[in-house]
Amino acid sequence: MAVAVRAPARPFARPRSHTGFWSWISTVDHKRIGILYGVTAFLFFIIGGIEALLVRGQLATPNADMLTADEYNQLFTMHGTTMVFLVIMPLAAAFGNYLVPLMIGARDVAFPRLNAFGYWAFLSGGLFLYFSFLFGGAPDGGWFGYAPQTTQPFSPGNGIDFWLIGLIITGVGSLTAAVNFIITTLNLRAPGMTLMRMPVFVWMNLVVSFLLLFAMPIITVALFQLYFDRNFGANFYNANLGGDPVLWQHMFWLFGHPEVYILILPAMGIVSEILPVFSRKPLFGYAVVVFSGIAIGFMGWGVWAHHMFAVGLGPVANSAFAASTMFIAVPTGVKIFNWIATTWGGDLRLKTPMYFALGFIAMFTIGGLSGVTHAIVPHDYQQTDTYYIVAHFHYVLFGGAIFGLFGGAYYWFPKVTGRLLGEGLGKLHFWLMFIGFNLTFGPMHILGLQGQPRRTYIYDEGMGWDAWNMVATIGSLIIALSVLAFIVNVAKTLRSADRAPEDPWDARTLEWAIPSPPPEYNFAEIPVVHSVDDFWHHKYTEDDEGRLVRLPSGGADEGAAAGEAGEGDSVPEQGAVSTETVPEEHHEAEEGHGHGDGIHMPSPSYFPALASIGFPLVGFGAIYGWWWGAIGAVFLLAGVFGWACEPLAEEHA
């Protein structure tokens, strides 16, 4: 290029190290950011789990006094908020970050620094939310924060303000992640990776990103409105002056119902990856699964008022939303049948990821069916605000999303760390979680139909609720044990010297065609894709009678496929995927890249983390006075300007 670009003056040198603390602060590598998302979200999962255990402790016996009403309200609010915004959403972002570029044959995401910025925004928003415990009490208005109950007269103190601002900040992270995923998926696919050859997980991640893109601004506006009401004398939800409490419900659930699909679709994508691998069959009806996911994404916008049947919207609105709610069960049901058909007649290998995937199908189906019962309006009048609802959404979000995400953790752990998690502890984890989960949430169906109200910290003896509440609390302790088994498993595995073979599951998708853990540049040579499950077709072909025949250059041997940690000497050379079919011009473009030499990757940067330090400071400013905000604004501006003025990649980084 003719025009020489003058190097801008720098406040500090570009980070260069690839190990140690600062390398994690400054990383722009999508795989490391994925790990950061995963570890952070898991820590929040522990915190949210402890909050749930405290709630269950209080409810174990009638008239318990373990918690006060105020503490109870704070704990169930923080439990719900944490699990939705700080656990399931970022865990999905963790998988998306780590896997999407690998699955589509890309070296990075479209906006590496924006990606880092999204993570830091999520972390600072989450920490800001938890600062509330230190500054006069956590939010206590439920994860839905219904106004006017959450307006100043009814909820004095700063808890709700921390909730509002914390969620606005994490929303910034979700929005940047959504933009990044959409553009990455549309623009960075390897040659031949057409949309209908993408792994289902990538598809679901794309649908979720669009949902985030359109849902986050709505909740952001609602949060701002409530913030203005509480702090600047605005009247959005001041019923005395004609402010409409139903408006909050519409805004919240117009975000909140797509949010439900934001939480479940990534797990559906993960399960759609696991089932074919452990059934040794292609996914049954790939296109139908993809289009069902897209259909859910569209229809998810037309069902929100089923959260509001009891509000009194009138028979026309209730009937319309009842119909749309029943209708959205159709694409969901289609997916369930596709998953079952995938395992039908397959050569099933019951490894831990497969256990979790099968558990997902069973539990999610139960949750889906109880969900359909809410679509029947008179039935919903009976269920609303009872433990039946709590049972329902835990079956979809825990039995569904969390089981799917744990399945994904077991499945891709060898990809991320190069080590296989122990099968024994893994299956112990599964069975404890499966039993504990059903003991906890199964009885809540009965409790709900018997009329036990949710969000109530105490109940009287003699209501017929005592026994099932005790069972549920015992179940929650079993869940805690199962998570402990997972932690022990991870700790043992990370200390072990055993290395997993490069393709331990005999998998189907591109991420397994490269070494584990992958090099920074992912693909030494960009693959050329010819079909769905391209990697599989490089390992196997069919003989005349349709039986699988391994190709001579194939992947893992049977021993490796059985999960034994071998030397991995029979796995394909890195980049073996269709190097021979790379068109000539790509060969030229990739010349000298065989071992990663000369591949130009984005350089690490301090600026995304620096900018996001500004968020909690601006947040404090919004609560305690403008000078905090001014300091925060300085950080934000300095970070963004530094970011804009430094090149994406240094010349000789």
Binding site: R6, V221, C645
Partner: protein
């Protein structure tokens, strides 16, 4: 080779390059479009709230009672003209005319500043006439909607000023005219939102 930001247009890049783009549309530009799609819902939610609330409140305490349509028409015209100067700035850098790039960027920023000044004046007058954010639900939704639009214009002005600064330091060569185009997309979007707000909020009678 200069760094990636100064690389040639997207469709020339090989797979694995930073500016590789399957769709043929540069990733940064596509990313801005995606962000603007999200912004539609942001303003959509604010405008919906205003439409729900616009008639609620005692007489004299509603924004519809104090609008000065000729005044706001003039400031709307000023903002619309800034879209024209934005287009001229992009045309200048595409020709490689750095001086006119900076002149038109500055003109755009100035027109935007005049608009913001006008909004501040309008708010002040309203407050003096007894209409503030607490007056009624309609006043609340008016101030918050137009206020958020004003914040968007202000961010745009800061962005334009930064681009002028970058141009002065030689950081925006002709090949990087995309930087200007993307800022332009944002600026035009904010203008279009104002057209909708002016129509729906000011011109539709109570």
């Amino acid at each position: 080779m200069t760094h990636a930001l100064a690389a040639p247009p997207a469709h020339g890049a090989a797979p694995g390059d930073h500016d590789y783009a399957v769709t043929g549309i540069n990733s940064k530009k596509l990313g801005m479009w995606a962000f603007l799609a999200s912004e539609c819902l942001f303003f959509g939610a604010l405008i919906s709230t205003y439409l729900l609330y616009r008639t609620r409140g005692p007489v004299g305490q509603r924004p519809g009672d104090v609008y000065d349509i000729p005044y706001t028409s003039v400031s709307s015209f000023v903002l619309l003209m800034s879209s024209l100067t934005m287009v001229l700035a992009l045309a200048a850098i595409q020709r490689g005319d750095h001086r006119r790039l900076r002149i038109w960027l500055l003109a755009t920023a100035l027109l935007g500043t005049v608009f913001i000044g006008g909004q501040v004046y309008e708010f002040t007058v309203f407050v003096h006439e007894g209409l503030n954010i607490s007056s009624s639900v309609s006043a609340t939704s008016f101030f918050v909607l137009t206020g958020f639009h004003g914040v968007h214009v202000t961010v745009g002005i800061l962005w334009l000023l930064s681009l002028i600064g970058m141009s002065l330091r030689g950081l925006i060569p002709q090949e990087r005219n995309l930087e200007i185009e993307i800022a332009g997309l944002y600026w035009h979007f904010v203008d279009i939102v104002w057209i909708i707000i002016f129509t729906v909020v000011y011109l539709v009678p109570n």
